[in-house]
Amino acid sequence: MSKWNEEFFIEKGLLLTAISSVIIIALIIVFIFREGLPALQSVGFFSFIFGMDWAPSNGQYGIFPMIIGSLGITALSLLMAVPLGVFCAIFLAEIAPNAMRKILNPTIQTLAGIPSVVYGFFGLVLLVPFMRVHFGGTGFSMFTASVILTVMILPIIVSVSEDALRSIPLEYKEASLALGATHWQTIKNVIFPAAIPGIITSVILGMGRAVGETLAIIMVAGNVVQIPGSIMDPVRALTSNIAIEMGYATGVHYNALFATGIVLVFMIIILLVIANYFHYKKKVTIGGGYL
């Protein structure tokens, strides 16, 4: 077998895998659109997006409360997970001694490997009663769901942020320390700003998981279709809606669930575009390249 042949096959093989992943995504989107558009046509785009009532048995398909629910849960969990995760990453990358890092890193990564149904059941059995006793209501709430999600997305944010912080060239740190800055000043003014694009990437990944998480949210969020008056009110997320009702849906209801999927796709695209914009803006440019 000649060298040319081997290289040729490997190159084409890699190209093929790359193309197939693009094709798969395209097929998924085409399929979701094909199944979902009939509902958008029969219900009407605006009354679907901004409708306040979801009662498939009465032919009412409005998903606005669920859009608010999904966004609320995601925002609340990012609000808790980002500071926690970023500080944890700074600690692991800069401050923690090696021995401690060897214990902490695998522990945090284990969190990412636990199946979401386990988190959901944990939430249902321990967190929901805790919330009911200490904050009132039924315990099933947007806040409970966010707390569970926070734990689920923390490992992503910590490990990606830590990698970003560690990939800052040593020269930056040396230069800063040589100029007389303390360790904390170096972290705050040099390492952290230089790592911001990577940290934003970690937030994007965490957000993706938060928007897409279904099972754990179903178990603790209460799944009531309403705009929450406070963070202690039950809500239903878009993903939960699809998972809860798909088994029973027929006709327009079935299409409406796919239309919910279309909205979810667009929501994620919009969030990604916003996040990527900040990622781009914060890029540190040095010489010809950037970090």
Partner: protein, 268 residues
């Protein structure tokens, strides 16, 4: 050299795929069952026992909900659809119904809740939101927390047919997607009320008596406990051959014994 391994791997892969597609199944006769998640456990037990006695038949049981069962059997996707609610006339079209058992629906409250009996109209008022405080039905002065099943669930539609009678369930009731999670929710919240199937009843929640009748296998069987629903096997048209044999076996003494073991009330 690497290419040789690649080719080897490819050949193995093709063999595996070929075996998976053509190898198995050809010696078996398959019966596929899908539908109500409440019927699923008993159907699985029936299938297991039947396959032991008839090694030439494979019975696969899937869940998905009563709606899915009715839909897929009428589209001929599966041989037997299961339903844990009575069919509407629009759904019946060409389907044969075989009741394999009856089941009670238990209204469950927390063990700490002093309320022991409710009338059907009280139950209706509670779930529609006319009664919102336990005080009104002889309990403590606390808000009633409703826990219901998701729309489309067989248990939910049976409960709505039996109790709600077209009245809508209060819209801010907590929705849980399985009997188990309803039980967990009721077990933890002293002011919660929910409904579960009799077969899943355990001592960690309290069953409310309805009009003075406690839910049990006996009261469901003699009809005095009237929150009850049928477990149905549905076929599209007249069953034949192996399929007919399986259904007959389920309705026969052996099958009904298994049904009874699962805390479902047998039909015979």
């Amino acid at each position: 050299m690497d290419l040789k391994y690649g080719i080897g791997l490819l050949v193995i892969l093709i063999i595996i795929i070929a075996v998976l597609t053509f190898g198995t199944g050809s010696n078996y006769e398959r019966i596929e069952i899908a539908g109500s998640t409440s019927v699923q456990p008993v159907a699985e037990k029936l299938a297991e026992k039947y396959m032991e006695e008839h090694p030439n038949v494979r019975v696969d049981v899937m869940g998905g909900g009563s709606g899915l069962g009715i839909r897929s059997v009428s589209q001929d996707i599966i041989a037997i659809g299961t339903s844990s609610k009575n069919l509407k006339t629009t759904e019946k079209q060409g389907l044969n119904e075989y009741p394999i058992g009856k089941e009670g629906i238990v209204v469950a409250v927390n063990l700490e809740n002093p309320v022991g009996n409710l009338t059907k109209s009280q139950l209706k008022d509670i779930f529609s939101g006319n009664i919102t405080n336990w005080k009104e039905v002889g309990g403590p002065d606390a808000k009633i927390n409703l826990v219901v099943r998701e729309e489309g669930s067989g248990t939910r539609s049976a409960f709505e047919d039996l109790v709600m009678n077209k009245t809508k369930v209060k819209s801010d009731a907590i929705v849980q997607t399985s009997t188990e999670s309803i039980k967990v929710a009721v077990k933890q919240d002293p002011y919660a009320i929910g409904y579960i199937s009799l077969a899943h009843m355990t001592p960690d929640v309290k069953a409310v008596t309805i009009e003075g009748v406690a839910p049990s296998v006996e009261t469901v069987k003699d009809g005095s406990y009237n929150l009850q629903r049928p477990f149905l096997f549905l076929t599209n048209g007249e069953p034949e051959g192996q399929l007919k044999e399986f259904i007959d076996w389920c309705l026969g003494p052996e099958g009904q014994e298994i049904v009874k073991d699962e805390k479902i009330v047998p039909v015979t």
